[in-house]
């Protein structure tokens, strides 16, 4: 790159699905060479390569439902559009209720989702069993099922986006750690990587589980915080499980990949752990094995092949932060997806690109804007189904 090119219009920190999709939308509307994506590790090294691939439209808030609905449409065309096959299989999502209040929560959610025109249905216990015969667990009160939800293979999405961005001429720098966010009189001036100052008018913090570190480089406290979540995969079994199954209690979820593995996780409290960085715990292996065997006793004879972990970037209200940070001009937040960045990426980053270009979006700015946490904006909606 020539030296004058190191003045970028927008530098996106984070080369995961959020950063890449933001660059994708942005580079369609401006000179792609003015966009830079920089990432600390290799592609798919963060949550974008560590998630369970779930893409669902069952949410409590209207805006999330709409974003998710659009993402489902985008992902179902992804193979054709990008030439990489993410094997997006729409086997639906099945949310199970075991207790009365869970049933109420789900039925309320069901009404909201149906109002958005989605074919969600309530399944009674017999219908649940007909859908997944292996769920031989007592006490199911029923569940919601939306057949157009699905499971995607995350890696090809990342490869497809990278290929397309390279073709357009967007610069991508992986294995490049950002060591500073440079500011001047309340505005952002650029970022520092490996001692070099890269100037930019706008900087986007799409660093997911590392977004706090980027914020602190800019001298800003964060509203979100990373939490460690673990997943396991079994040996590949022949296809038997159509939907992704989710329980509300512990946020347990599991589905079957196109290769046949049962992939799933549950939420564990790692807050008291002394361990640093990403790790797999023996406790998780035991807990998840118990949960799988409780819900599907037949699975006891199947073997666990591997487990891994990644960060959710949790926001206080279960909704992402999208937009300019009121504390620093030109500094944009695109994080806090709480483990749902992959499923919301295509549509939410389309809005972020508009915001970056100074345009209005169809989203209520109070809903996603980072300034909702500075106390200026009252009455924010809360997404209660930001689990598993």
């Amino acid at each position: 790159m020539p030296s004058e090119a190191s003045h970028y219009d927008t530098i996106i920190i984070g080369g995961g699905v959020i950063g890449l999709y933001t660059a994708f939308h942005l580079s369609a509307r401006m000179d792609p060479r003015k966009v830079l994506v920089v990432d600390r590790t290799f592609p798919s090294g963060g949550a974008s390569g560590r998630n369970g691939g779930g893409v669902r439209q069952q949410w409590e808030s209207k805006a999330t439902i709409r974003l998710a609905k659009e993402s489902v449409q985008t992902y179902s065309r992804f193979g054709r559009d990008f030439g990489f096959n993410p094997w997006f299989r729409q086997g639906g999502y099945l949310f199970l209720a075991f207790r009365e209040e869970e049933r109420k929560t789900l039925q309320k959610m069901e009404r909201g989702v149906r109002e958005e025109g989605l074919p969600i249905r309530w399944l009674d216990p017999a219908a649940v069993h007909a859908l997944v015969e292996e769920l031989e667990v007592p006490g199911i009160l029923g569940g919601t099922y939306l057949p157009t939800d699905g499971v995607i293979h995350p890696f090809p999405v990342i490869w497809g986006l990278i290929s397309e961005l390279k073709r357009r001429g967007v610069e991508l720098r992986y294995r490049t750690e950002v060591s500073g966010v440079e500011t001047v009189s309340g505005g952002v001036r650029g970022v520092r990587v490996q001692g070099e100052l890269l100037r930019a008018d706008r900087v986007v913090n799409a660093a997911g589980g590392w977004s706090q570190q980027i914020n602190s480089l800019a001298g800003l406290p964060s509203f979100t915080k990373p939490t460690l979540h673990e997943i396991l995969a079994t040996e590949p079994v022949k296809p038997f499980l159509k939907p992704m199954v989710v329980t509300l209690g512990r946020g347990t979820y599991f589905s079957q990949t196109m290769r046949g593995e049962i992939v799933g996780g549950l939420t564990m409290d790692h807050s008291r752990s002394q361990r640093q960085g990403l790790y797999s715990s023996g406790e998780f292996l035991v807990e998840m094995a118990r949960e799988l065997a409780r819900l599907m006793p037949r699975v006891a004879d199947v073997r666990i092949l591997r487990c891994w972990s990644g960060y959710y970037d949790d926001s206080p209200d279960g909704l992402p932060l999208l937009g300019e940070d009121p504390r620093l001009k030109g500094f944009y937040q695109a994080n806090g997806f709480g483990g749902h960045g992959f499923m919301l990426a295509p549509s939410s980053t389309a809005r972020l690109a508009k915001i970056l270009l100074g345009e209005r979006t169809d989203l209520d700015p109070h809903w996603i804007s980072p300034d909702r946490f500075t106390g200026q904006i009252p009455g924010r909606p809360v997404e209660g189904l930001s689990l598993g």
């Binding site: 292996e134 590949p236 046949g260 361990r275 790790y279 035991v286 094995a289 006793p297 004879d301």
Partner: protein
Amino acid sequence: MADRSRPRSSKKDAPTGQPTSRITIYLNGRKRSIPSGRSLSSALSEEHIPVLVRSLKYHRPRGQYCGTGQCAGCLVRHNGVPMARACQIVPEDGDVVETESGWPSTEHDLLSLMDRVFSQKMDTLRGFTRPLVLRRPYLKVVRSFSGLGAMPDTAPKKSPSMEQKTVDLLIVGGGATGRAAEQAVIEGSIRQRVHLSDRRVAGESVVYLGPSEDKGFLALVSRKGLPALQVTSRKVLVATGSYDAGLFFPGSDLPGVLTGEGLESLAGEQGVHPFQSIVVFGGGPRTRRLVKRFGSRVKLLAAPTTLSEDLRQLARSLEIEVVERSMILSAQGRNRLRSVLLQDRKTGEQRRVRAGALVLAHRVLPNATLLFQAGAVMQWREGGSAYFPELSPRCETTVPGLFAVGSAAGFLDPTSSLESARCAAETLAGGGQSGKNASSQSSSDPAGLLAKRVPQEDNGFMLEYLTEFLRLPRTRKTVLCPCEDVTLEEVEGVVKEGWDPTLEVVKRLTGTGMGLCQGRYCVPDSILLLSALTGRSPEAIGFMTQRPPVWPLRIGDLAGGR
């Protein structure tokens, strides 16, 4: 897998005297009488072994390969339990065994046409994307081919709860080195509670090792026929030994191509195996052991480099032909190995050898997965062409309280291996300087132990060997990762397209190393392959996170009780 290149005389190596007792099993619904007391794959190998497994993508025939329960070569449904490893099962009278891949049968599989239709590759990364209207049919068809075995029809009986145990020292590995360490610790300090996990005899495998909530380590131990065991231990000594590496060449995934351990497991204690003529590939101590044991059927000893004088003499005394500086170009056969094509690395001269088995014994690799998992700093050592733990002169890794000895730590010959065990045991029993861990590589090493860590059997030739191999023309696709049917050509393609040629990225692009064996048999060579293709050092190619469990772990073994 039976070799029909010579008249059969399977009684030749059978133990004389006692008649073998026999049991009846049902294989794919048909009664079959097999000898008792041997592994299923071994018992079936007495006569013509049917193909037990077809590969995931191309439906290529697969057979016993690793003999340790890691690879995807001998998966069967055993009494309704899918994906059981035939090499690890000792069948009982009346057992029901079914093969689960292929149509109409695993042996005669029409779907093996896939291998011809997709003669270059089946591109699941970029293919099947157009036209858009075919998206759902593609998904349906491709999904119907997925999976290695079907879910069980019924739930098993609930196992008892997982047991828990607290000890002072956990020793992983019950080979000579692990046993020596155990004895030395017990003699050195009678108050220590020691638990030794032994895979071969007791069927115990430590599948997970990490820090425990309070001080020390937490280990999950899977046990044959029992619920898992949870061990909390102040200190851990890893003596997991080494294993025979794989190698890729066209046909390397054919039944009949197997590792030294694969042959030893097939032959069992009785030493019975179906191969009339064997080609052994290798030149080190492993090769020596195999030649000694199976000498009467070894037809040819092909060494990738030169042989030691004593191995040459041993071969001569057994009338085994020897070829040195030899490269395996390919293995031929339809459903089982028939012949091996070799090339002289100096002259380029080629020769075809008829053989029923090609035994890979060219390279041993450390069983170091647990050390990676527990967070020990690992170093690439060119001599071993593998990662070994950074060690203190007392064999402590960079994780305080975690010790590594024997070939898992790079002490490949038996003498230095035992020496390392004694040295670590001294510290563990409280005799030596304890707690001095870590980066003290440079600190004094009175025993001179660490200097003995450069493997005696130099594996350094592999990079050169593979570089040479890659230069030769290939006409057939070469399966690099047999578990996932990833080809060498796919990996070459990834490098040509300019992707980041590190193992972590290549794994996520191609699936290399993501299969059942967790990369044990494809990753070590993939590192060298990527190094040869790019000119980068193997260290720059990196490694991939070693994900727990070390061995696939039955869900019911953890979940019992509730």
